[in-house]
Symmetry: C2
Subunit: 209 residues, 2 copies
DNA sequence: CGCTGTTTTGCAGAGTGTGCAAGAATGCAT
DNA sequence: ATGCATTCTTGCACACTCTGCAAAACAGCG
């Protein structure tokens, strides 16, 4: 009765292979360039067949960033829904941050991911697109949140949904700009981006309104 | 001395081929689905070789949307810079709208593009990514604009640039949400999206601050 | 018509990504 | 340990996107 996540050799080996391929992909991209780091070359370095590569990652770019599932963690959503603050913008930004972070594996090997993103900012845009693809699901979540907000009480459900989508997109946009600065600022804790993103967004919006 | 844009047969024929391939791509995508509309099939329908297809479009998706250059029109930027209002958000939204519209050819064949976008919303995200790719150039433009704004007078150039990037991303995000509703609302004039995008954005932002 | 520059096309090839079926490894029960 | 079921890996064939190159077709012009 061994279905998944058995904590045994299976799971550990799978996680190890995952990390090996990720490391191979990221290092190779840094060494020979993203376009010259082919799937075959990455697979060779990771000692797996190129077919196995695609059993772990949906694309070369996902491997270079170490992006896993592509699924939204329902537990994370539930946790965030139970711990809301009185600041909607903050909550939505947390949701976005959580989705981004949850989909990538921990970068043990130093600042591999930081260097990759520094060299290839396009990959950041890819990340954002991934979250955009989940926006139907996330929009419903934020829409629910808004229904308990006094300021949105008078809205119809559709209006709330549209507002939720705007909020999501806007937070995502801010997150991207903030993360774009991160690779160049080696001292900063990754988690600080999340805080800075919201602050920056709020400051700018105040000035144009 | 016939280099480019001679107004003769050359130019007209090229424009015609462009539209033919676009129509073939969009129609085929609607008929058999985006994933089953291969470049070969599109080229066959347009009576060109698949090699010629790539002389006109950089990718299958670009053909389905009728996306041309990928270049920012410097004239359009200059025109917008000379006709600024006292509403920065409005100006930035106009810039974003202009870049999006300028890169696509006019859709003569009824609501071809509308139906394509209705069936495949992912393509909208692609459009947005295209604009994101120009954000270095556009960020400089908006940064310049901000330097004449009293509220941003005290900022350093870097801060202004970061604010410009935030504004761009935010307007882009709003535009996407607004355009996402457009395909389902057949009566609406495309240009109204641009107005609605900014209005919606402003309304939502007022309520969360 | 003949000269010049542009466009189209076929071809060869690199690269991504998928389905399938055989074989290897793992976990578990006996 | 041995056998059995499940899962993982791999090779292979294949479809598809996209690029470089060189030959051929074509437009424009004297």
């Amino acid at each position: 009765m061994n279905e998944i996540a058995d904590g045994g050799i299976r799971e550990r080996k799978r996680a190890a292979t995952f990390r090996t391929i990720y490391a191979a992909a990221a290092e190779l991209a840094l060494e020979v360039g993203l376009e010259h780091a082919t799937v075959d070359a990455i697979s060779d370095r990771a000692n797996v067949s190129s077919r196995t590569f695609f059993n772990y990652f949906a694309s070369k770019e996902d491997a270079v960033l170490g992006i896993d599932s592509g699924e939204v963690s329902e537990e994370a959503i539930a946790h965030l829904s139970d711990n809301r603050t009185d600041d909607v913008l903050h909550d939505v930004a947390s949701l976005v941050y959580s989705v981004i972070v949850d989909s990538t594996i921990v970068d043990e090997s130093g600042d591999l991911r930081r260097r990759v993103l520094e060299k290839y900012p396009q990959l950041l845009t890819r990340q954002i697109m991934r979250v955009s693809a989940m926006e139907d699901r996330l929009g419903l979540v934020v829409g629910d949140w808004l229904s308990t907000e006094p300021k949105f009480a008078s809205c119809t459900p559709e209006e709330r949904l549209e507002a939720a989508q705007i909020l999501l997109s806007v937070c995502l946009a801010a997150m991207r700009v903030a993360m774009k600065k991160w690779p160049r600022d080696t001292s900063t804790d990754p988690h600080e981006n999340y805080t800075r993103a919201v602050d920056l967004l709020r400051t700018v919006l105040e000035r144009v309104s």
